[in-house]
Symmetry: C2
Subunit: 339 residues, 2 copies
């Protein structure tokens, strides 16, 4: 493996100093056109490319923002990335994405690597970060690396852009109450995650205010996903008193649940109304199409990125916590309760 071309090689070949080569690359207008041409030609011919590791090291910055997510397979994140990425690019950074696979150890590995200097900033969209984060902070509670959280549980300590999960739960409950429903079930993600506890509480509060409650055994809690949706459908179908409406904590799971109901000849919304949460692209393309709370995911990503860039570039923050409001999307899967 041949040694890479360096500034020194170019400088020697062009008969200039390494400083001039460096300038030609990064501030072309500060060198005489004649010199510039000579250097640039050599750069081309000798296939010179500045060593990024050296550049980053010397400059003390990388031009990259990294975002860590719990599960990249969750289709939910795609728009979030788009929002981040667009803004990162606009601000002159590239966006790199890491997947912790919802594993604390992996997360720690990432943090160890990224903690200092791998990127100019770290955006966290993972659920279980409270402890690992502490490690990033000194005793002063000051982190060497600019951090933005997309998650409520860290909100108090680091700048946060998060979804108003409580509100989402409320608008879905209100929608179902207005349709006349009184008997509910919830298919929930792990409530240790505040994303899920937020949805759960918001939904329950709205029911409370209307004088309704959900019996404990009509709350089915577990790791969301299509298969869990199927499982929940079977659990519910087994009961003699099928509720008239189900709030499923994400669309993916709701899609599994609806499909399984279909197999068991339980019609949606005829027999039971189903509402989801997220508004995936597929949510409008199934039958029946899914009533859900749309999260403005792209905006979420955009805001998170803007906040990060402000921090990196030492601009004052308007606010240390930004709330993103979800929006009710009514489709076919919700209707009046069966009589």
């Amino acid at each position: 493996m041949a040694k890479r071309t360096t500034v020194r090689d170019i400088a020697r070949a062009a008969g200039v100093s390494i400083a001039t080569v460096s300038r030609t690359i990064s501030q072309p207008d500060t060198v005489r056109p004649e010199t510039r041409k000579r250097v640039l030609d050599l750069v081309q011919r000798m296939d010179y490319r500045a060593n990024r590791m050296a550049v980053d090291f010397r400059r003390g910055r990388t031009g990259a923002i990294i975002v860590l997510v719990a599960d990249i397979a969750n289709p939910f994140f795609s728009e979030f990335f788009k929002g981040m990425e667009e803004n990162a690019r606009k601000a002159g950074y590239i966006l790199l994405i890491g997947d912790t696979a919802d594993d604390e150890k992996n997360e720690q590995d990432y943090l160890d690597m990224l903690a200092s200097g791998k990127a100019d900033g770290l955006v966290l969209n993972t659920a279980t970060l409270s402890e690992t984060i502490s490690a990033l902070e000194g005793d002063t509670g000051f982190s060497a690396l600019p951090l933005v959280s997309c998650n409520a549980s860290l909100g108090a300590r680091i700048p946060t852009v998060r979804i108003d999960n409580d509100h989402a739960g409320r608008i879905l409950a209100t929608h179902l109450l207005e349709l006349g429903h009184r008997d509910f079930a919830q298919v929930s993600g792990p409530r240790v995650s505040d994303a899920h506890s937020g949805r759960f509480e918001g939904f329950c509060h709205a029911l409370d205010e209307a004088g309704c409650t959900i019996p404990a055994d009509l709350v089915i809690e577990g790791n969301l996903g299509i298969e869990f949706g199927r499982y929940a459908a079977r659990m519910l179908a087994r009961r003699s008193d099928l509720p008239t409406a189900v709030f499923v904590h994400n669309d993916e799971t709701a899609i599994g649940l609806i499909h399984e109901f279909g197999r068991m000849d339980i019609t949606v919304p005829g027999d039971v109304s189903v509402v989801g949460y997220d508004d995936l692209q597929f949510s409008a393309a199934i039958t029946p199409s899914l009533t859900t709370a749309r999260l403005p995911r792209r905006r979420w990503g955009a805001m998170a990125c803007q906040m990060m860039v402000s921090i990196i570039e030492n601009r004052p923050l308007d606010s240390r916590e930004i709330l993103i409001e979800p929006e009710l999307i009514v489709r076919e899967s919700s209707g009046p309760p069966r009589s």
Copy 2:
């Protein structure tokens, strides 16, 4: 902003040399336990963390592999990432993902940044890379950065792990032929991409061998996605001679097409059979569930990553091109032709 703690600070505080501090961090067993403890305590207390930029720079490696994809929003990629990531982790690397948003300029931005030293290797799963890649290669055709392609069009020049698209087209055609179909349509992605031309050709060849052809106006080509699927459904429905079977080049699009057929009271597979390509998690959770060619995406990612690690670590490659074989998954959306 306080200056960060460096090896020198720790060395001074512990009364040792900077070399000892460095060793304590990276090869703890080579220092006397007593010294080690003293240093580690200080590291903790002074919140020292080695500057990754300096470490990477000095060592000449980063411990990171970057994969670039054309569109991270495509649910298709998630399993591919998982496969890569698992293997990267196993080999001691972290995986970072970049999204080029299918834009050559973005791609170029990434490559400029990544080309040298941002990562130990670059895996490319983007369609339109032929030109940009040239820039990475010197006149010698030698790239400074280890490269692996997941795409046929670059296959000749750099190591490749790719899907056997041609074969996939064939097994889907064969399945439909065996069901008795003779009248086909294809809903294709842009055929400038060899992923799509491969599927297209494979499908057509198998039909040829059975004495069938697809009329040119029954090939609907465009940018795949749910909306395009809906559009294709409307185009097909408008015809007097609706074909009996449609091969849609990915599941996402097939889901849109089936949903739109449903709206128009065209039943699948009663009126028309639909087969997709990918096997997304949602493909089994719609009604009717989708017959498709399953791409072993996780394996794809795993192989790509293994190949990359081999290259980085100068191990010999078994082969410079690995083909991943898709598998036919028969579900409800395909059946005998209407009589």
